[in-house]
Symmetry: C2
């Protein structure tokens, strides 16, 4: 596949995140416009509510784009998703006869505020990166017992907190919590001292299942509406003290950031790739009928307060051991009802190399090997004022499918109690 | 406090669950009426949508009762909750002048279908019963290490799945899942063989907090709209294989049942009692300024298919080590945003005695001491066709504040894949 050209000139550059091949879905507002659905094209956003109002697109009898979320479109189902993409490509292609009527509904990206692209129904976070799980397991339990016995059989996941999933650009206060140093007799309560990121992809479930219903991996793949970058902010010291025996809770509950644009499954289609060869054969319900991961280059960037951006790590989504489709199949396998707007975090994505690690915990090896930044300062974990940025794109021939950035600056802890 | 009398005669009996002192909130429908808000009084339900339509109650400029959930009322805030209760007592008291105009809006409970009383925003389950945690810990880790080191300091909790919280009376299919016998080399996939209940109370958060906001225990107590009985159905064999290192997931995701009536905090006020003396002093943010548990008698009942109901255990909510207010304070302590409609499971409630245990896992001691039923059959865990029933009430002088039943029958597993 090569670049598809558009009459929106800025969409035809080899290094834009948003060529006609992409067409990701977001929610934007301006001084004049209330939050509404929009589609990114080059350096512009197509105002979908205005387009619908003008009769240039009609997905449903009721308007679906004049709301600040894409959940209504998701609920129309896969056929509607395909029709929407086809119509958008038609309207925005270089030779589109509708150019003159569509052009007035473009809004420069520089003038907008971006919001959460959907209402998150529920948020589930997985632990499907083998290099990450091995690194963390080695630090905590030793190399011999790095991977838990179930890890090669189950896409391990836990329920996260949907109420604190926020869009890129939202400042995050350093959380307070119960902490206990290994040599302390009793715990204390105060600001997290080991604040971390987790580089992840988020898959957005677009169609719902009933309680008691199960889905095959092929069906699960079809249920996915699109993908975002996801930073699963983690308070490592709170986590260490609280997580036995029922898993992470407040260590992850304070914030999860996502990139503002939902990149559709259709846009990523040319970049499909397979999960790695299995060390243990998967149970039949988890076996993939085809390639269900994607080749997506990912970076972790730090921007200290008043300083310059600096890349800390580069890796790829193709490093995962389980795909989002496998995770979704497992999620519904007990009969758990899934809903449009459910967000599935992939788990931290790390590659095999030292510079391919998707968390500071791994990059600084638990704080034992602090990272030295260009300004001479060091980091084991995040400091107040640091802006942490994730970026990602799939690289095509002369074009790329970008996600936009997923960033968040850490503000000092609030006083409590 | 003694019985408050009503002109609804059936509400004046010493053994009704729903005297005027109670006035719990539910959602009902009939052949003629769409699901709407209702209040239980004796053997009747007051149709709140009709009452509002008739101008007999006005909480807000917009109608709030003609919808199938109480979330809108929750969001009006504590003052509105108090005004609502005061007005209902006024309208339903024995000497109420409005009797003739209110009476036409009563619907016999025998004629209705009960629905979920609210939209569950998110569901969190705690692990705050010391006898339960000690019993389970003893079975799995031995008496020496029964309680995890954090247990006396943190109200341990984990995020559950809101999409499968269902109202009492909903049938539940036995879940499938990954299982691995201790002596097996590899896991298999199939129906759960160790299906269990967990006797819990559910606290419903009625007011929201912003991300980054924290609340004291006293504030948290005020945020609670009311309580329900809650059965946290659990697949023990799925749980045993999946739960390390990130906690329960599919073992709990298939279903959680709640009783249909939200019993308000105001109705339970006379039954407040304190959490037990602390073995370790709690950190200041978790210390209670007053009694925040409630004295509520609870029972677990089994009804085998075609058989008779039989009590398996009796205990009391006053056995908990942490109150819902403490749990809510901890939940928000990292800055986690809380929303109206959030449901907090107390954790399994067990007393010190053998007949006071709130799960079959404890009652049959992990299957080693099967329970013999009246019909001569035995149970280590739940069998297909068993109807599992939780009941609860606070006992006053000549009246009781009842919750109605929380029941669910187990149907055979569906075939998957």
């Amino acid at each position: 596949m090569t670049l598809m050209t558009s009459w929106v000139e800025s969409a035809n550059s080899a290094d834009t995140d948003f060529p006609l091949n992409n067409l990701p879905y977001g929610v934007f507002s301006t001084n004049a416009l209330e939050p509404r659905c929009g589609v990114a094209i080059g350096d512009q956003i197509l105002d979908m509510a205005a387009l619908e109002e003008a009769g240039l697109i009609e997905l449903s009898e009721e308007p679906v784009f004049d709301v600040p979320y894409w959940n209504d479109v998701m609920e129309l189902g896969v056929d509607a998703w395909e029709a929407l993409r086809a119509r958008l490509i038609e309207l925005l292609s270089a030779d589109a006869p509708e150019q003159a009527s569509v052009a007035p509904h473009l809004v420069p990206m520089a003038d907008v505020l971006l919001h959460m692209p959907m209402v998150v129904s529920e948020y589930t976070d997985f632990y499907a990166g083998k290099h990450h799980a091995t690194n963390v397991g080695t630090m905590f339990r030793g190399a011999e017992n790095a991977l838990p016995p179930n890890w090669l059989h189950i896409p391990i996941g836990y329920n996260g907190r949907a109420s604190t999933v926020v869009v890129s650009g939202t400042d995050i206060h350093r959380p307070n919590g119960q902490l206990k140093a290994p040599d302390a007799d009793t715990p204390s309560f105060g600001p997290c001292k080991r604040l971390d990121i987790e580089l992840e992809m988020g898959a957005i479930v677009g169609t719902s299942t009933d309680m008691g219903q199960t889905v095959s991996v092929a069906e699960a793949d079809e249920m996915i509406f699109g993908y975002v970058l996801l930073n699963d902010w983690s308070a490592r010291d709170i986590q260490a003290w609280e997580y036995q025996p029922l898993g992470p809770f407040q260590a992850k509950a304070f914030a999860t950031s996502i990139s503002p644009w939902i990149v559709t499954r259709a846009a990523l289609e040319p970049f499909r790739t397979s999960t790695p060869e299995r060390e243990k054969e998967l149970l039949p319900y988890l076996q993939e009928p085809g390639p269900m991961l994607y080749n997506i280059d990912l970076s972790v960037i730090i921007e200290p307060e008043g300083g310059k951006q600096e890349v800390l790590a580069r890796t790829n989504y193709n490093q995962m051991y389980y795909s989002a489709a496998q995770q979704l199949t497992h999620h519904a396998s007990s009969g758990c009802a899934m809903n449009a707007g459910d967000l599935l975090g992939s788990g931290t994505i790390s590659g095999p190399g030292k510079s391919e690690r998707g968390s500071l915990l791994e990059l600084s090896w638990g704080g034992k090997e602090p990272i030295t930044l260009a300004d001479g300062s060091t980091r084991s974990f995040i400091e107040d004022g640091d802006n942490m940025i994730l970026t990602g794109h799939a690289q095509g021939e002369g074009f790329r499918i970008g996600f936009g950035a997923c960033e968040g600056r850490i503000l000092p802890a609030k006083r409590f109690p």
